[in-house]
Amino acid sequence: MTKEIKKISSGHNACAGCGQLSAVQSVMRALDKNTIIANATGCLEVTTTAYPQSAWGLPWIHSLFENPAAVATGISAALKKRGEKKTKVVVMAGDGGTFDIGMGIISGMWERKEDILYICYDTESYSNTGFQASGATPYGASTSTSPKGDKNKCQKIKTCDSVNEIGNEYQKKDMIKIALAHDVPYVAQSTAGYPNDIFNKVKKALTMKGPGYIQILSPCIPGWKIKTNETVELGKLANLSNFYPLLEYVNGQLISGGLNSEKDAKKFKQEYLGKQGRFKD
């Protein structure tokens, strides 16, 4: 009997109850051992590879924050040249690396129709650097660079008029639409509340030729100001409340998931927002 190497092992340094790491566990369950991972800079890289240790049992590379899509393209080209057909290439990145700084690089990868599965763990902020707002931060979320102001601190009438009472004043960028606009054949959305849904979507994506994009809402304990046992529950509430519905598009057609009825969703909205410190004053 050969000893099986765990695809990702315990002992990493992520926060207890981290939404991203639980989503990663579901992704890794679905990946074959013939997989090469290109990882962006971020929480996942920092917490799993503190040298000389590594939690990764699959070949894994981290180069920079904004370039894993291009690094993966290079890996893919190397495999193609060698005629190595069964090895899959998977990118793992956060929302900052995906929605913002790595955006153009991802567009290039999709234009070239690279056979690469891109997974974005969406914590809706730059978690690794201390919860600054990103293009994935939703409207009204208070982050360290989109903080809600304190009215008691304003000095003059003039500055009191400009107190930020909202938090993030921009809407979340719609990355799913951007993926669909590139004719990415498999585009899906899930949340850390649904481990089996993540597993199934990764499996499905790997059966398809061409690029795949899976975006997984990954509640961040310190960033969202939530309790360590709430990430799975918030993942579920995000879907039920229609803030982050489960979605699955094949060749541009929605084949599963989508918005729940507004009547049903309404019951969960207050609960979803109310549990999170980032939406409070």
Partner: protein, 387 residues
């Protein structure tokens, strides 16, 4: 015999520098090429695209959406065990700088051509070497070529050194002056290259391989980071000996006769009197102008630096110490201090007078009479002068 004769009869052809570089890269046989067009590098990557399109080579050619992507693509392919190639220039190099530093830190044996060009603003597409100087401390070996024959041979040498030392290499060729210049060139044939450069095989456990999973690019805390930088520095310094050794091996295979290995080797070339009064030090194509200007000059020697990083301090010391005056002519500057090449050479500034001349920025013509003037009126110049 007949075979050898026919090979020799192929001899020199009149070729454009960029085309010669592309033909040499084809013979080096990389697995993956990725690039983004920028003047004056374009002809190289166009030729490589055409060679692939014609089915004359079987590398993967990946069209990148920026230089930043091109560098990242060759990084990924190299980490997955491929021999790779890219080329860039000026603004393109600056855009890929983050990746350039990353490549050497990851110890990937990547070779790139840098078609040297001025940096914006003001925007200018002509030649100087300010772009190269922007990455001189990035952990890449840097060769500079005087002419296109030297440039293509440096590419062959670059792959050997990169793959042996696991250190990336830039081959610097002056934009337009070399890239777009037609001159007689003898392309190293595939057979000759194969004799010198073994087929690239990444070492087990050092590349991305599902049968032997490794973690590349881990996070290093203060306990480990400095050691990894020190290791790179040590290997970098060691590469001086390798460059010198491999250079002669290559010259031998290419049937190039070298008269004096002490004055013409992989690191530098010295030409001129044995006991010169003045030595003029420079890099790249301007050496051609200097040689022409100082033809038959009995007092001035010419020191051409071929390997700028690692800098061969010790190796050129014996040459330098013979002269009273040193002229450092460079197509780059470091604002508020002396030029980069000057700073590297100032270690010799014990008894000698050493002066810095900044010239040719943004393609400004360097005339033979300027060269003659600075050698004749050396004492009249300040520590640093623009000519």
């Amino acid at each position: 015999m007949a075979n050898k004769k026919s090979q020799e009869s192929q001899g020199s052809q009149i070729l454009e520098g960029s085309h010669a570089i592309a033909l040499t890269i084809k013979n080096i046989n990389p697995d993956v090429v990725s690039a983004y067009p920028i003047t004056p590098q374009t002809h190289i990557v166009e030729d490589l695209a055409k060679i692939k399109a014609n089915g004359e080579a079987d590398y993967e050619y990946v069209r990148a959406e920026s230089e930043f992507a091109a560098a990242s693509i060759v990084l990924g392919a190299s980490a997955a065990g491929s021999r790779v190639y890219s080329a860039t220039s000026s603004q393109g190099l600056l855009l890929m700088t983050e990746v350039i530093y990353n490549i050497s830190g990851l110890r990937l044996p990547i070779v790139m051509t840098l078609a040297n060009r001025a940096i914006s603003a003001p925007i200018n597409i002509w030649n100087d070497q300010q772009d190269a100087m922007a990455i001189k401390d990035a952990g890449w070996i840097m060769f500079f070529a005087e002419n296109n024959q030297e440039a293509i041979e440096q590419h062959v040498l670059a792959y050997k050194i990169a793959e042996k030392m696991m250190i990336p290499v830039f081959v610097n060729v002056d934009g337009f002056i070399l890239t777009h210049c037609y001159e007689p060139i003898k392309i190293p044939q595939k057979k000759e290259i194969d004799k010198f450069l073994p087929k690239y095989k990444a070492k087990k456990g050092e590349f991305l391989d599902p049968t032997n999973p490794v973690t590349i690019g881990a996070f290093m805390t203060p306990a480990h980071y400095q050691q990894s930088r020190e290791d790179l520095h040590i290997d970098f310094t060691k590469s001086i000996k390798e460059i010198d050794k491999e250079y002669f091996l290559l010259q031998n295979i290419l049937n190039n006769k070298i008269k004096n290995k002490k004055t013409n080797n992989g690191l530098f070339e010295y030409s001129g009197p044995v006991k010169p009064k003045t030595i003029i030090v420079a890099m790249g194509s301007v050496i051609g102008t200097i040689k022409s200007a100082l033809k038959n000059n009995k007092q001035v020697g010419i020191l051409k630096i071929k390997t700028y990083r690692p800098f061969p301090h010790q190796e050129i010391y014996d040459i330098m110490k013979e002269a009273k005056n040193i002229i450092v002519l460079e197509k780059a500057l470091s604002f508020g201090t002396l030029g980069p090449l000057y700073s590297d050479l100032s270690i010799f500034n014990k008894k000698q007078k050493i002066k810095n001349f900044i010239a040719g920025l943004g393609g400004k013509d360097i005339k033979e009479k300027d060269i003659i003037k600075i050698t004749q009126k050396f004492d009249n110049y300040d520590k640093l002068s623009f000519i």
